[in-house]
Amino acid sequence: MTGTPLLELKNVNKIFGAVHVLHDVNFAVHPGQVTALVGDNGAGKSTLVKTVAGIYAADSGEQWFDGQQVNITSPKEASELGIEVVYQDLALCDNLDIVENMFLGRELKKGPLLDESTMEERARETLASLSVRTVKSVRQGVASLSGGQRQTVAIAKAVLWNSKVVLLDEPTAALGVAQTRQVLDLVRRLADQGLGVVLISHNMNDVFEVADRITALYLGRVAADVATKDVTHGQVVELITAGRSGNLGLAPAAAL
């Protein structure tokens, strides 16, 4: 681990009613690196992402961004800091078209009116760079897109902006081989451009291919935060399913 993290969570807790979803979570995102966030279903990965995105307020703990303590309380604040999120459930408006969705909340304007021309051009460029070959038109309603196309639109929406941190919550879950390739390349490219990238995935091949670091969540606790080159597939799978692997991971008491 080198230098100050771009984004850092310290001792973050999140409680939904009776469910303690995040336990004293420490999590760091470094510039130029891909951090994989792994964990079983229900481990708290999406909750962690939504806490960073300002959708949920953490119940305790600190958030640091670019060396300064911040308190992200709304999605707008997150995007103003330069944090972009691709949500697991995509969060697209079915009644709007692709361009409208990609610029939602941050429409380009000419005076009081929308600048449709520029938005359409930039949307087309960004989508073309992600090779969405099967989309007939950028003015198509997103309701008419396939699952994979919708996912690509959600990703395109996140890379449209000059952001510093991009969090992708299972971005390849619905994608075919070629599109998955594109997204993994994109993830690597974003990190190589100096962004901090967080990739949530259940696919160990993808994780080992692009991630520099792996943070494993187990029942809302960080089981381990390790460099990818220091661990094997098997160790990570054990961390995910049991919370520990050899001398890595949670103390036996906590893990049970």
Partner: protein, 424 residues
């Protein structure tokens, strides 16, 4: 394992080769349109066809229906419904409802009327105060719905009763306030000079044609998605024929007395036209309008996109009640008074019906300002036509109720087809 053997697909703009130009011609555009209809995206078609059928039916059944005098009457009767419905579109877009809009309109109109009668205020002050009353009512509704999270159905039902009480308190049981201010009365009973009427109608058509053609040229030049030129012309003609036709009818002398000619476009028509154009621009060309659709389509997605959902919801209720105030003033202008029963009975259902018949969805996320006008004309035509045929008023209720039900059924079915066809 590595999947690097898969060649990286090229990133060329050719990925959108089929996208940068439009449907090749009228025929292909027509086919696209048919496909959209089949997919449940009916737009204004059912209401327009319904209106045509009603007009033809009443024209056959009644000698007086198509006279210039009756058409002018119909237009003035439709004015208040169209404006109220236009306001309701904003609330319906969010998937909410405003049951109190009729009485909000009557209350606001009463405020305006009393300011003129009792305080001797000039009409602009009174009208602005009336609209402000509407805005305040809408603000209260919006805050209760957005901040407290009470369903809009309940909040506005409470206001439906409360405002009725306020109206009774201001006017008194069975009483009424006369509206004889020349300007306010003039909205309904005065007409534009014939020359001005022609200039207005011609100007609207010319402006629409020029803006559409310029837009088309810009889209072609910048290689953006665009309609075939033939379709643009089709739309221009589609606007020009009814607008100029109506101007011709209304600019004809419709008086029964040869010594007192009555001719010209009733002032209410340009008023509704202005509101229609204004709100269409707001809905389709501004970020605020875009956000309204987003909140109606997927509230959580809108919130995550950084949109202030509460602010949008409060604004929608404020627009609705302010438009209701304008509608109430138009209705007062038409009747020459506001009474304790103004805004009651079927006022609200007519307006909701108008919006839904025009194509606005009760499920939120889909609707246009235009829907209110087309649907409002359908409702006004039914009331007017049945009136001419001397039908007992229960028939009017039954027919209007059936039409509303039919429109809601079309809405529900086309929504099902849309989700089956995957069209938003």
């Amino acid at each position: 394992m590595s999947t690097d053997t898969t060649p990286t697909p090229g990133l060329a703009g050719s990925d959108f080769a089929s996208d940068s130009h439009s449907a090749a011609g009228l025929r292909e555009a027509g086919r696209d349109y048919l496909n959209r209809l089949r997919g449940g995206d009916m737009g204004a078609l059912p209401a327009t066809l319904g209106l045509l059928a009603l007009v033809i039916g009443f024209a056959i059944a009644s000698d007086t229906f198509l006279t210039e005098l009756n058409i002018a009457n119909l237009i003035t009767q439709a004015g208040a419904i169209c404006v109220l419905a236009m306001g309701l579109v904003f609330v319906l877009l969010l998937g909410d409802i405003d049951l109190s809009a009729g009485f909000a309109g009557a209350t606001s109109a009463t405020v305006a009327a009393l300011l003129i009668r009792d305080q001797g205020q000039p009409w602009p002050v009174a009208v602005l105060a009336g609209i402000a009353t509407g805005a305040v009512i809408g603000f209260a509704l919006g805050m209760l719905v957005a901040k407290l999270g009470i369903p809009s159905f309940v909040v506005t039902l409470a206001f439906f009763l409360g405002l009725q009480g306020a109206l009774l308190r201001m006017i008194g049981q069975g009483g009424s306030v006369r509206v004889d201010n020349e300007f306010i009365r003039g909205i309904s009973i005065d007409n534009m000079p014939v020359g001005a009427g022609w200039a207005f109608a011609g100007g609207v058509v010319a402006a629409f044609a020029i803006l559409s053609l310029l837009r088309h040229r810009r889209q072609v030049r910048q290689n953006l998605q665009h309609l075939p030129l033939s379709v643009v012309w089709f739309k221009i003609i589609g606007l020009a024929v009814p607008v100029l036709g109506l101007a011709a009818v209304l600019n004809t002398n419709r008086s029964r007395n040869p010594n007192f000619p009555i001719e010209g476009i009733p002032w209410v028509l340009p008023l509704v036209g202005f509101l229609l154009i204004f709100w269409t621009y707001v809905l389709t060309r501004t970020a605020f309008g875009r956000h309204l659709y987003a909140v109606g389509g997927n509230r959580e997605a809108a919130r995550r996109a950084g949109i202030n959902v509460d602010r949008i919801r409060v604004s929608a209720f404020m627009i609705c009640s302010s438009m209701a105030a304008i509608s109430g003033i138009i209705a007062a202008s038409n009747a020459g008074k506001v009474s304790a029963s103004s805004g009651g009975s079927n006022t609200l259902l007519y307006a909701v019906g108008a919006a839904v018949i025009g194509g606005t969805s009760l499920f939120g996320g889909k609707g246009k300002a235009r829907d209110a006008v087309i649907g409002g004309l359908v409702i006004a035509t039914i009331a007017n036509g049945l009136g001419l045929l001397d039908q007992p008023s229960y028939i009017n209720f039954v027919v209007t109720g059936s039409v509303l039900l039919l429109a809601a059924a079309v809405d529900a079915v086309s929504r099902r087809r849309r989700s089956a066809a995957g069209v938003g």
